[in-house]
């Protein structure tokens, strides 16, 4: 649930989602769910010449299982806080 909560703090930010098929999708984060599925508005694929297939998309729902990375603006994150929360989470007995 940690990363789900983390992504919730990023709603409204511009992000670039890198998929496991190497596609890069830019957009504004609208929502995230417990599976880390991502909804983006105003999507644009990075290499529009290579991927005309998705030129007519205005928004997208990206399945969490196909995401490799979510590139976020460095200023959007308090890395010390995140590191701290992650450490605490890993220490929880599960």
């Amino acid at each position: 649930m940690l990363f789900y909560s983390f992504f919730k703090t990023l709603v409204g930010q511009p992000v670039v989602v890198e998929l496991k098929n190497d596609m890069l999708i830019q957009g504004t984060l609208v929502s995230v769910d417990q599976f880390l599925n991502i909804k983006l508005d105003g999507v644009r694929v990075e290499d529009e010449r290579k991927y005309p297939h998705v030129a007519s998309l205005k928004n997208s729902f990206i399945r969490g299982s196909v995401v490799r990375y979510v590139h976020i603006p460095a200023t959007a994150v308090d890395t010390a806080l995140l590191q701290d929360a992650a450490r605490k989470e890993s220490q929880q007995p599960k």
Binding site: S56, N59, S60
Partner: protein, 91 residues
């Protein structure tokens, strides 16, 4: 995905296929029901639109689903588009 119900959507599958259709239903696993589905098959020498009718798509084969901007979509002359197929998802 509630806002996509009954909208014309474009789907990219994990094997790199592109399908358009009207989203009639879905569930938490993103299994989908698409009506008037049609596959857009891209290649460097051709483009084909293959009608598929009513389709159930299993959730774990889905990469991206999005609402189609019909104005943008109609403005593109799809039969003249040439591109490599989208690569498959690799773990």
């Amino acid at each position: 995905m509630d806002d996509l119900r009954n909208k014309k959507v474009l789907l990219v599958t994990t094997d790199g296929r592109v399908v358009v259709g009207i989203l009639k239903g879905f569930d938490a696993q993103t299994n989908l029901i698409l009506s008037k589905a049609s596959e857009r098959a891209f290649s460097t020498d051709s483009f084909r639109e293959i009608p598929q009718g009513l389709h159930v798509v299993r959730g774990d084969t889905i990469a991206i689903i999005g609402e189609i901007d019909e104005e943008k979509d109609d403005a593109i002359d799809w039969p003249s588009v040439r591109a490599d197929p989208i690569p498959a998802i690799r773990i």
